[in-house]
């Protein structure tokens, strides 16, 4: 059973979204891709659990 939380869980959604976009402001496509890759790895480490990570990757790949 997946432990992935697909219910709303972000404390301040609008703030989070704005912060995420701000990190990419003025960056080239390549720089942005690098930021995203680092962010995925940092968040993945925060989660840690294999089942949850697998469920998240599968959900993302579904599109």
């Amino acid at each position: 059973m997946s432990t992935l939380n697909t219910d709303p869980n972000i404390t301040a959604p609008d703030d989070f979204y704005a912060t995420l976009l701000a990190a990419h402001e003025g960056k080239s496509k390549e720089e942005s891709d690098a930021i995203n890759a680092r962010l995925v790895l940092i968040l993945a480490n925060q989660i840690g659990d294999t089942d949850t990570l697998n469920a998240a990757i599968a959900l993302a790949a579904e599109g």
């Binding site: 891709d33 690098a34 890759a37 680092r38 995925v40 790895l41 480490n45």
Partner: protein, 538 residues
């Protein structure tokens, strides 16, 4: 007719005409091994020590030049130890524990392997392959002197193989012309390009990696270089797309440069061009070139390693990328697995089906090795834009944050595979027993006074009892099981590695030192059943 394919480091089994060559009828041997490399010679040691006559045929007269496989892992050394040639390897080899990882212009972090105490052999040693082979052939000669039935025939090239139901017929070419011999069993240890595999028309499938690597072995002059492993990703000094440096005995350093797929090999192999790369990396140091070579690699295996009376071992059966040192190391584990099984079948103690378990277990091992080395390859040489993006993200984060370091994959150290869930496994009934010595696992070494646990087992079935009663020996329908009685009192390593939370334990150990079954206490019927399972007689 007999052009050498490579030059020799040691010509130690020169051609000599054998009586078999003058016989009108082909002489039948129980076992013929094709290939006198490390895997073929190990097979001869294993069988010879069991007093099973074995003939090794090699199309050269000794050991090839070049350092080649230079990392020999613990399990491989333990197998060599069982064959009586591990100690000289350890004595000659270089042990390192400190590794440094570089990205672009600088070092991003370093790691210490912090080896666990209480093992005869370290996690691995660096040793040039010709030494490794030489120590094994020395041992082979010593066994011959003791009267063990081992033969090695140089410049004996197998040109044709006819496979019958219960034997093979070989056409062998020598400097004195051709002759025929027969074998009940043929072990093909003739390397990644196995002529045996081709002659039998068997598939070898998998993935070819489009990259090449330049190896340079150099001897430093007047410079003290530390005994460490250095791995560069994308070095800005421009010597290659990735570069690996580590130390070998005799003050020789091995440097591997990843140089891409579309390279002019002849041009790259010119000394001036190799020196250009070396100088870019090393700066202003003096060195002499010892050996160099260019290699490409593939991750492939045969579908099954047994084809009737023909058994494939080592690179002939499976090939991996060099990252993680899983080539020669896994080949030695093949032999470890095959030797006792072939011995029991030849002595009539086990059915031929036992040899199918060789394929089952070692295919499992090969798949694990291919998986690991493919993952390392994908990290070291990313093949798509996105995989490069993630790879670089890992390296960037690893420089500052410990969490990303386990993701850096510059080759995962070869560890022996555990035969989890496979056919020869008996019951695992030791509640609280350690995970690392579960059924299917190779035994973990532990100190026993001035000796070592692994030195006390192997070559036959052992009943290892720890603070548990059992008879001194058992005869299970012709298979001898000998007890090794130990106590964990005053031996914390033994307790930690074999008891865990249990108070006592009884382990059934296979001749290759893998755990066949384990219990809390001895029970005759259970042990008999487990021996029968482990010998494919159940």
């Amino acid at each position: 007719m007999f052009d050498d394919r490579y030059s020799l480091a040691h010509k130690i089994y020169p051609y000599e005409k054998h009586a078999d060559q003058d016989k009108a009828e082909a002489v039948r041997h129980p076992v013929v091994v094709v290939g006198g490399g490390p895997i073929g010679v190990a097979t001869a040691l294993d069988l010879g020590m069991q007093d099973i006559p074995v003939v090794v045929l090699d199309d050269h007269e000794g050991i090839g030049m070049g350092s080649r496989a230079i990392c020999f892992a613990k399990r491989c050394l333990e197998v060599a130890d069982r064959y009586g040639c591990g100690e000289p390897m350890l004595e000659k080899g270089v042990v390192w524990n400190l590794g440094k990882v570089f990205h672009k212009e600088g070092k991003i972090y370093e790691f210490n392997l912090l080896p666990e105490e209480g093992h005869k052999y370290p996690a691995f040693i660096n040793l040039q392959q010709p030494y490794f082979e030489r120590f094994m052939v020395d041992r082979l000669r010593a066994l011959q002197a003791e009267g063990k039935p081992i033969e090695i025939r140089g410049k004996n090239r197998v040109d044709n193989i006819e496979v019958k139901d219960d034997h093979v017929v070989l056409d062998v070419m020598t400097p004195d012309g051709p002759y025929k011999i027969e074998a009940d069993w043929l072990v093909a240890a003739d390397g990644a390009n196995s002529p045996t595999r081709d002659m039998l028309g068997l598939d070898f499938t998998g993935k070819v990696f489009q990259d090449s690597f330049l190896i340079a072995d150099i001897r430093m002059k007047n410079v003290e270089f530390p005994t460490e492993r250095w791995f560069w990703f994308d070095p800005t000094h421009g010597s290659g797309a990735s570069t690996l440096l580590h130390k070998q005995p005799d003050d020789v350093w091995r440097i591997d440069f990843q140089i891409g797929w579309d390279v002019d090999r002849k041009e790259e192999m010119k000394e001036e061009n190799i020196r250009r790369r070396l100088d870019a990396m090393l700066g202003d140091v003096e060195y002499e070139m010892v050996w160099s070579s260019i290699y490409t690699f593939q991750c492939k295996r045969m579908e099954t390693f047994r084809h009737g009376p023909v058994l494939f071992a080592g690179d002939a059966a499976h090939q991996v990328s060099p990252f993680g040192a899983r080539g020669a190391n896994s080949g030695m584990q093949d032999v470890d697995n095959l030797g006792w099984k072939l011995g029991m079948v030849l002595k009539g103690q086990a059915p031929v089906a036992l040899l199918d378990s060789y394929s089952e277990e070692r295919v499992h091992g090969a798949d694990e090795n291919i998986l690991n080395s493919t993952r390392s390859t994908d990290f070291i040489t990313p093949k798509t834009e996105i995989s490069k993006t993630f790879r670089d993200a890992v390296l960037t984060l690893a420089a500052k944050h410990a969490f990303a370091r386990p993701l850096v994959n510059s080759g995962r150290l070869s560890v022996p595979c555990v035969y989890d869930g496979l056919s020869l496994n008996g019951p695992d009934q030791l509640p609280g027993g350690p995970e690392r010595t579960r059924v299917g696992a190779p035994m973990v070494d532990a100190p026993l006074g001035n000796d070592w646990l692994l030195g006390q087992v192997g070559g036959h079935f052992t009943l290892l009892t720890i603070d548990a009663d059992a008879p001194e020996s058992l005869d299970v329908d012709g298979v001898d099981v000998t007890r090794l009685a130990l106590s964990a009192e005053g031996n914390p390593e033994l307790a930690e590695r074999y008891l865990g939370d249990a108070k006592a334990a009884v382990y059934l150990i296979r001749p290759d030192q893998h755990v066949a079954a384990r219990w809390e206490r001895f029970d005759t019927a259970s042990v008999r059943r487990a021996v029968n399972i482990a010998t494919a007689r159940a």
